[in-house]
């Protein structure tokens, strides 16, 4: 491309605004704040492929997954499964044409279903995820993978062995291209040296669900019993803690936990208010707080660096620069949001464009820009890439040469997501953190615990 063409391109997108965003998307760039459909180019309307999915486990999260899949044109929710008929009925509202099952084994026998999403309570993941892999399905298994290390290891090893299939762990932030953008930004030194990190998840709610049927009520409240639940730090915090480990580029060497039942004294034995401190090899510590007794400031993560603090809320992020940090240049024109006395520089692509100055900092993320959306989108893209590679390869060369197929598959480019290894490590961390919280003590985390083999 000669310099005239470059000048042409720059002038054209300066004038056209929105189409640059599309060009960035087409060329592999990323935006932190989702664009409305009006900005999308024709390429967004193409449906390159469709993957028939089955969702097993139709509780709150299972239904959220179905709602997200219904907004992905590459997904077709072909089957839904739950042991509880009322859940199936409720899920059917978002998936009117799906076949329904009350036994996951029957769903796995259905040849039409190519990929399966396991969204049951954590302690039920193992049997279902492994059976799904053995049935030849591609599997997206929610995080934490399991509530004990033995089960987590079994699932991860099964995912590793199924090399003609996609296995993705439900750590959706790892698949979020917006977070990846931030990762590069931070690794490039924008925040200076990371000295501290903080994450919180606050929401005043009981977690207790009721049902006329006492057995069903016990099942529904698996989160409130220490036999089945990893509590706030393991079931909820796992995502934020794993994301911070990712940004801090290391695994914690110890975790110290505290927990108590401050508000919901209803016979549960899982803490409703927890704090956990994780030590990282570089010296930085992550403090995690979560409570079901207060909602102030909901959930966010902050990375404190010597040059700037970076705050992340869902798919939005801000940079708070120190007075003595070097000038990056672009921030002079960038959109800024006030947080009491702090000025946050919004970290979004095209931060200086006029159009962005009118968007409000508190605008809710739509379904199509939440991390879960990106995680499922990447899952489907990978399922299509791997599935079609296996199909085309065996159509031409047969099934005789397994190592040749493995080699061909190893060269298939995949969207970055959380794989069996990352899923396993995050799950081990969640399990150990939950233990520390229950004991109110410090636990060392030797690195052998995170090794799979």
């Amino acid at each position: 491309m000669n310099s005239n063409e470059t000048a042409e391109l720059n002038r054209r997108d300066f004038l056209k605004g929105g189409s640059f965003a599309t060009l960035m998307t087409v060329l592999g760039g990323v935006e932190l704040i989702g664009r409305s459909p009006a900005h999308a180019a024709d390429v967004e309307t193409l449906v390159p492929f469709q993957v028939k999915c089955g969702v097993i486990g139709l509780g709150t999260w299972g239904r959220e997954i179905i709602a997200t899949l219904s907004r992905l044109k590459t997904a077709q929710v072909a089957a839904i499964c739950d042991t509880y008929p009322a859940s199936v009925k409720r899920a059917r509202n978002s998936a009117p044409t799906a076949k329904d099952f009350d036994d996951y084994r029957k769903m796995l026998e259905d040849k039409e279903v190519q990929a399966v999403i396991v969204a049951t309570p954590t302690h039920q993941h193992r049997e279902i995820a492994i059976a799904a892999l053995q049935a030849g399905k591609h599997v997206y298994c929610e995080a934490p993978l399991a509530n004990n290390i033995e089960d987590a290891r079994a699932i991860a090893l099964a995912g590793k062995a199924a090399n003609k299939q996609v296995f993705q762990a439900g750590l959706q932030m790892r698949a979020d291209s917006q977070r990846r953008f931030l990762l590069d930004f931070i690794r490039a030194g924008a925040s200076g040296k990371a000295v501290m990190a903080h994450a919180q998840w606050h929401k005043k709610q009981s977690w207790r669900m009721t049902s006329p049927n006492p057995d069903r009520e016990r099942e529904l409240n698996w989160r409130l019993s220490k036999d089945t639940s990893l509590g706030l730090v393991g079931e909820i915090g796992i995502h934020q803690i794993d994301a911070m480990s990712w940004f801090l580029n290391g695994r914690p060497t110890s975790v110290t936990g505290f927990g108590s039942i401050m508000q919901w004294k209803d016979g549960r034995d899982v803490a409703d208010t927890v704090e956990a401190v994780f030590e990282y090899p570089g010296g930085a510590r992550l403090t995690f707080e979560s409570t079901l007794a207060n909602s102030f400031d909901a959930d966010y993560e902050i990375l404190y660096g010597t040059d700037a603090a970076i705050m992340m809320r869902g798919n939005k992020a801000w940079m708070f620069k120190e007075v003595d940090s070097p000038l990056l240049g672009w921030e002079v024109y960038a959109r800024k949001d006030q947080f009491y006395k702090e000025t946050g520089i919004a970290l979004i692509a095209n931060a200086t464009k006029l159009t962005n100055l009118t968007e409000k900092a508190t605008d809710e993320a739509s379904y199509t820009t939440k991390p879960l959306y990106y995680a499922l989108e990447s899952f489907l893209t990978n399922v299509n890439a791997v599935g079609s590679a296996v199909e085309d390869f065996t159509a031409n060369f047969g099934t005789g040469d397994k190592s040749a197929l493995e080699k061909y598959l190893s060269e298939v480019k995949l969207q970055p997501t959380a794989n069996y290894q990352e899923g396993f490590e995050a799950t081990v961390l969640a399990i150990k953190a939950s233990e520390a919280v229950a004991k109110g003590s410090k636990l060392a985390l030797p690195k052998e615990w995170f090794e799979l083999a």
Partner: protein
Amino acid sequence: MKTICLLFVGVLAWHGASLRGADNWVRYTAQPGGGKVKVEGTSTVHDWSVESKLIGGFVEFDPGFSFDNARPGKVNARVAVLIPVRQLKSDKTKMDTVMYDAMKEKDHRRIDYRLTEMTLKETPKSPEGPFLFDSTGELVVAGVTNKISMPVTMTRVDDDKLKFSGSTSVKMTSFGIQPPTLVGILSTGDDVKLTFEWLTVRKELPAK
């Protein structure tokens, strides 16, 4: 008169059922990992290319063909090549999506080639040296068939393998493909260059 078979690979079409040939034709079959095809094009913004390592098909020689005593002239051979379109990829998924749509991949899943005529131009100067051929064949893309001519190089590898390479230029519009345009962003050029490398291995044909 000795006939010489020449095989070459570019993009070949599968003709299985109709190739009920004479006995004793020697078949060289595509091997996994032995092929690479690249399609290169231009646009108003930047050049682009897609690649695939999956080339299927085979090459067959007339039993009278002899590598050691080959002479320039017409050659008897059969070539069938197929390339699954969805395995052609660049490093930009969205560009690939646009390409598959332009090539109507959902209805025409393969690029096919079948040889119609081959002529040996130059014999090798040394045992590992290349045979140079001129070929004519039919290339089928997005359901449209066009005759294409292409020079091809063949070299012997070990005792039982043949490696082919070549390249040709075609116009997208000649196959009924509209060069994709992203409105307000870029439009692709009509001319594309196809380049291939293909390793085939001799298999004995079952007795008929």
